[in-house]
């Protein structure tokens, strides 16, 4: 009975080697997601594309993986009181329409035989752009490239609203207006516009959209960073769930891919989250930016390999994508253990 059920959902279609690869890759993605609060999920879809899965399966399974990861992360942020449910519910409406528009465009492009290429190009531009931004900020010493770990200890009303968000709040006064956590008052239409545009990206690329939506919530809406992170995850539970459902109806979600990825990422996310209490993310943010840039290069190389029929280039692209993620995940773990050992030695010396 259980065998028939799991077999029907595609769990037995994946070979043991691929299951092990997915668990390992999930572990790496989980460490990155838990530590940086973003950036893990959008490695999954290009990796699946490079493994020759159809675009709809790569995007659909990527989105189902994001959904499962978001459920786990939201449970944790709910316990910390960092979820604004009012903001989340408003954003869900805009994102839902955006996801459906993005998803419909994937099938339209697939019917024209262009989906794989266009999605890969979009990834190169997006990964490259975000990677360049994070690397530049890390080198400058700014803290815009992910979760600010030190900020997690501040009260919500201690956060300063960015100038651009203040300007938007003053300029766009179209009713109805809502007051959010952190004493932020903003037009519902601003929230809806942010939600729709990031929803299109989610549906098109099969990503949670957090790496775009989180900065958008901070800079366009003006909510405090922890609320942006918690609410974003809450929203991804719904948008990712709906997106997965729509892809799943058309056979785009494979449990043989999603289940092992989630199995690994849930453990990795715990390790990554624990590491945030020990290591300052600025120390290794530059690696993270570098990883995104290598990811962009890898997708580009894989796509050129696919275009000219070179399996060597396709393999190189895959190795680069997974290799970059593995290197940064190990950098996080190594730095964490080193920091713990230094702290332990200092405590021992102080005790002596």
């Amino acid at each position: 009975m259980l065998g028939n059920f799991l077999g029907g959902l595609g769990i037995f279609e994946t070979s043991p080697e691929m299951l092990a690869l997915f668990v390992g890759f999930g572990l790496v993605v989980g460490v990155l997601f838990g530590f940086f609060g973003m950036g893990g999920s959008f490695l999954v879809t290009p990796a699946l594309l490079m493994l020759d899965y159809p675009a709809s399966v790569a995007v659909g399974s990527g989105m189902a993986f994001v959904f499962g990861t978001a459920v786990i992360a939201t449970l944790k942020h709910h316990d910390l009181g960092q979820v604004d449910y009012k903001l989340g519910v408003i954003m869900i409406t805009g994102t839902t329409i955006g996801i459906e528009a993005g998803r419909a465009s994937v099938y339209y492009l697939e019917s024209m035989g262009l989906a794989g290429g266009v999605i890969s190009v979009a990834y190169v531009v997006l990964l490259g752009g975000v990677g360049a931004m994070v690397t530049r900020d890390a080198l400058k010493g700014d803290d815009d490239g992910g979760v600010d770990h030190e900020a997690a200890d501040k009260d919500l009303d201690e956060y300063e609203i960015p100038d651009v968000a203040k300007k938007i709040q003053r300029t766009v006064r179209i009713p109805p207006m809502v007051t959010l956590r952190g004493d932020v008052t903003v037009s519902v239409w601003v929230i809806t516009a942010v939600a729709f545009s990031t929803g299109v990206l989610s549906g098109f690329l099969g990503v949670g959209g957090g790496f775009i939506r989180m900065p958008a919530m901070i800079y366009a809406i003006g909510v405090p960073v922890p609320v942006a992170v918690g609410t974003d995850l809450f929203e991804i539970v719904f948008s990712g769930g709906l997106g997965s459902y729509l892809y799943g109806q058309d056979g785009g979600v494979s449990l043989g891919i999603v289940a092992p990825l989630l199995f690994g990422s849930a453990l990795g996310a715990r390790v990554g989250s624990a590491a945030t209490a020990i290591v300052d993310s600025d120390e290794i943010k530059v690696y993270f930016g570098g990883m995104l840039l290598v990811g962009a290069l890898a997708v580009g190389i894989g796509e050129v390999g696919s275009y000219i029929g070179s399996s060597t280039l396709e393999l190189l692209g895959l190795v680069l994508t997974i290799g970059a993620a593995v290197v940064v995940a190990f950098a996080v773990l190594y730095t964490t253990i080193s920091s713990l050992r230094v702290t332990r030695q200092q405590q021992t010396s102080a005790a002596d």
């Binding site: 029907g8 959902l9 959904f67 786990i72 339209y108 459902y245 989630l262 849930a266 209490a277 253990i337």
Partner: protein, 54 residues
């Protein structure tokens, strides 16, 4: 672009997404328990001290 699609009821897909949701809950609870059980031992193994070394 194709028109917007209204999700229709599909028991098989509901089962698929429900399985992923269930797996997420089981992993959250399961790994949480595992962390409490083997966490201190792992800390001693990796750092040479207990979790309070943080």
């Amino acid at each position: 672009m194709a028109g917007l699609e209204i999700p229709s009821w599909d028991p098989e897909t509901v089962l698929l997404i429900g399985t992923i949701l269930l797996e997420a809950f089981v992993l959250y609870v399961g790994y949480g328990g595992l962390e409490r059980l083997v966490g201190p031992y792992l800390m001693r193994l990796l750092v040479g001290g207990d979790a309070s070394a943080r």
